[in-house]
Subunit: 140 residues, 2 copies
DNA sequence: TATTGTTATACTCTATAACTATA
DNA sequence: TATAGTTATAGAGTATAACAATA
């Protein structure tokens, strides 16, 4: 249920989990093309279109055409997007607290450490939810 | 990716994750009606139909009409179903080992303990994947 | 001709509601 | 009239392939 509860929380703000993940990617490294992001997430570029549309309609990110190569749409956060990321950080923190209720701080640290090691061991890309990755994932 | 990798493993055997979960429920307590199971899993009864159909076609479970009330279909494992459950246990074990590679036995125990406490704390029904639960869940 | 983004299409999964058969 | 199971229908989410614009 953890994932569902997080989804419920961000749904109150009108965003889906995949949109939220994309927003975080744009926040982490603004200015990337949709192709670059699709490659990074391991998802078909066509899937990004609807996600980007949604975030752009909510004025959280914007597409900027590259004048040098007008095929590229570089993605950037808007000011509202920056503010939204701050909200998101709060929600993430609250969610983590709620999930770890019943564990004392030392145990939380243990859990985080163990899970992080598993993530590394399994080759998961940091900050990228595995749900984006459909098939093979070729690094740049 | 853990969930996806497990899905891939059982897909080799021709089963989907929801089917696998249902099979386990039937194995745990044979003879329940589809309504009872739907209630237990927190899923609409209509969803069970296709899952049961699939398992029945693969001869892993069987529907038996209750002569006293012919509306009920009690679900039972077939012999093949029992054998399949044994295979499933092996796969589950292998999957867990693969996921925990990199952790020594003591750390695995720690992780299991911490996660179990979270599951209890969050009120998750033991042996039932949260993915079945759509909305409210009313106990019997 | 190749690449970026987009659109068109199809498929899977699921929930809701209508239906049937039994009671 | 009520209940167990089923079928019909519709919606969300996603992948694949075709397409338009640009290079």
């Amino acid at each position: 249920m953890p994932a569902q509860r997080f989804a419920d929380r961000i749904a109150e703000l009108g965003l889906s989990p995949p949109q939220t993940g994309l927003l975080r990617v744009v926040a982490m490294r603004p200015g990337q093309s949709q192709q670059a992001i699709a490659n990074q997430l391991g998802t078909p570029p066509s899937r990004l279109v609807a996600l980007v549309d949604g975030l752009e309609q909510r004025d959280l990110i914007e597409r900027r055409r590259n004048p040098d190569d007008r095929r590229h749409h570089a993605l950037y956060l808007t000011e509202a997007g920056v503010r939204f990321m701050a909200q998101l950080a709060v929600i993430g923190k609250e969610h983590e607290d709620a999930m770890c209720a019943g564990l004392d701080p030392a145990e939380r640290g243990q859990l985080l450490g163990l899970l992080s090691r598993i993530a590394v061991e399994q080759g998961l890309t940091p900050m990228v939810h595995p749900g984006y990755r459909a098939m093979a994932e070729q690094p740049d």
